[in-house]
Every structure is written in structure tokens, then in C-alpha cells.
Amino acid sequence: MSEYIGDNSRTGSSEESGTFDEWIPSFCARFGHEYFCQVPTEFIEDDFNMTGLGQEVPHYRKALDLILDLEAMSDEEGQDSEEPVSRSIVEHAAEQLYGLVHARYILTKPGLQAMAEKFDHKEFGTCPRYYCGGMQMLPCGLTDTLGKLTVRLYCPSCQDLYLPQSSRHLCLEGAFWGTSFPGVFLKHFKELEDYVDRKNKETYELRVFGFRIADEAPSGTRMRWLRQYPKTSEEQLELQDCEFQIPKVQ
């Protein structure tokens, strides 16, 4: 219905006047954009935070204005000097630009805090692995370059990577979270590591009528190492030997 309300009446009648058209909140509220947190405009307005992004994203100026809700002004002044760019192209550039700023922002203290809140609310989903007992996951890129790989999810419990469960998250650009995010998150929230260390490390072994499958069989156990952690003092010593390289097997 709101579409039918005239433009001049809109400003007055809208309850959250001023917020209804803001680009960042509406981008983050979009279906499928649940993994994004809101980057404050002050962060984006600081040129230092935007270093190098002008080369990454086409129509940088217009895209930036769109994100900061300044588009109307620049539209008027830029009309004769620059060739007109279609709205959808600028919109796409704005999304790319926002994603790249987002990847930077979530490595800052307030950004980590915002993401921690989403993490606590399981907004990035929980680990599909049965023995992880519904551990929350963190979004992660496998490259920081645009257009290469979609987002993955990192589980701090099994320390493995998963694809998002829902198709609406499967096509999200991985670079919008970046390769360093889970690492920085783990370093910043040390208590998470302690929590994970204390979690039980139960694993599964294939059995037929209660008997384990012979090693000789093709389906014999080959992946136990992936979920194995040093327990005995002997294994602890072995772990120490692995500080910089993998010792030779004799």
C-alpha cells in the first residue's frame, strides 16, 4: 500500500521517518543477506578505510553516494560531465563496494562485536556435523578477490568448512567476508577456543552388525585423523614435534 502514498506525504507520515529509504539497512534486511552486518556510515566516510577500493569497483563515486544515500545530489551535478549509467549498474557496483567495505569492517573491534552478536543468535547457521551438537558457524571467504568463490561457513568445533544449507546463501560472494575473518574472530574471542577445547570429541565409525569394517576393505576407516586430537602424553609429545613441520614417518 505504501507505494500509493504520495511523495510529499511520505516524509511526514512514515513512523521511522528518515530510515525507510536508507541504503545500508535495507540492503542488510534483504532476504538472503542475513550474514551481513550493518557497517556504520562513519566507517565508510573515512577515506582511510576505503583505500584501494576505487580500483576494485566500477563507478566508485556513484556507488559510494548510493550507499551513503547521497545519490540524488550527485545525479544532478554529474549528468552532463559523465555519461549516464543505468541505475542497475550502479546498484550492482554499490553492492560490491559495500561487500568489500564489510569485509574490512568485520575485522575491526566494533565489527567483530556486531558479528559476535549474529554468531550468538546462530544467524550464520549451525554445523551440520552431528557430533558438533549444533555449534554456530562463521562466514568465510576462500579468496579476497571478487567474483571467484562463494561464501563458506567455518565451524570452530570441528574446524572444518561447510556450504551454506540454504540456496539463498549459496550464491553470496565469499570476498564480502574475506579469508581472515574466522581467524581474527577466534583470536579476538579467546573464550570460544576454550569452549571448543572442552567440547566432547566423539567420532563415528562405520559398523556392520556391531563389527568394525576391516582395514583391507575399500570402505575401511581412512579419515579418522581428520577428527582426531592428541590425548595421551605420547601424542602430546608428537604434537610438539609438529610445531613447524611434519616429522618423517619411520
Binding site: R129, Q159, Q165, S180, Y204, P218, M223, L226, I246, V249
Partner: protein, 241 residues
Amino acid sequence: MADVEMTEARLDTAEGSISSEYVEFWIDLFLGRKGHEYFCDVDTDYITDRFNLINLQKTVNKFTQVIQYIVDELDDGVLEQMSSARLEQLEHDARKLYGLIHARYVITIKGLQKMLQKYKEADFGRCPRVYCNFQPLLPVGLHDTPGVDCVKLYCPCCEDLYIPKSSRHSAIDGAYFGTSFPGMFLQAFPEMVPPRPVKRYVPRIFGFELHKQAQVARWQELQRRKLVHSLEQRGIDGGWK
């Protein structure tokens, strides 16, 4: 003798169904239900063979009636006289019994063949683990007794267990697939065992691996190499990629 009679009667209805326009078989309805995609079609011959039903008699009340209901052998008159509560109970028992028979059937030669077809079409979903590369999964129970735990999915690539994506599937009783199914399946079709992925993930900050995680990952890789070594000494190729 009862078995023979049952099978004969079954044939009659099968022929009779050609003339009547919509005969909906209970099993077809069951399999067509949303969320029942993991189940395969158990042969009625298998269901009516008492030998296959040993020790299942006590799992439901009025066992024979439930079996007749599953294979559409129950007299219409009998059904019409049932209270709606009794019908509901019958339907409930039939689903449970079908599930328990299903768990036995899927580890027979015919059942394994049917499940192979479903596996090839990835009816049980694919592994969500990135380095398993969309490996099709296999359903498995952690218990053979019904009512204990829901179905899980086994990945032959990472050899781990996953929770079904959809709540429709994650609510199905694991005992309807049984604890031995994936093991039997992969022993019956060794060519379906995929090469195991060696690649794994270590978190990085600006390109540098986190020290502690990298150290554990190296230790785990050492365990793998030790396994490769011990298998090689026995002349076994571990089949990694």
C-alpha cells in the same frame, strides 16, 4: 500356507486395479508423502513372507491386520467399521512396521540395489563439507530400536555423520534404516567408495595460518601418513586424492 494365500490375493487386486480408475496402494501413498524420500519401495513379497518378519510381531498391536493394511489386503468392510481413532492407530502402526521392515529389506540384495539407485540420484542429499565435493550421502541409524534417535546421514568421503538439512527428514526414526546399512552398502558396492580427500582447512589471518590450528592440522596429517605407511606395509592402497 497363509503366505501363499496372501500372495495370491495380492495378485488378484493387482489385476483388478487395471479396471478401477484410481487404486491407491498404501505403499505408494507412503512413499509419495513429503519427507519420505529416503525410503525405498519394499516388495510386497518380502513383506508377506513371515520369515522376514521374525521378532517384529511384538512391535505393533494386531500385527497381521497391520501387514494386511500395508499390502492393501485388508477387507474394505473391516476398514469401514473401524472408528477413526482405530484407523489412525492402524495408519501409525503401519508406518512404523513398514519402517522396521524397510531397515531389514535395505540390507538384502534387492534392497541394496534399490538404495543404490537412490544413492546415484543423491536422494539422500549431498555432503555439506566443502572438501567432499558434493558427495552423495547414505542414511543411517545410530540405534536399531525405534523411538531412540532420528536418522543421520553418512558421508563415504569424510566418513562422518550429518544431520539432514530438512526438518522433514531429520525427524524420521533412524531405526527405519538401521545401524548396518551404510557399511553393508559400501561392502556390497566397493566401487561406490569414493577416494578420500586429503585437503583440509586451516584459518588464516592475512595469509598466515593460525599457529595452534596449523600445528594440530600437521599432527593430524602425521596420523594420516602413519596410516598410509601401515596400510602400504600390508599392500593396501588407501585410496586418497
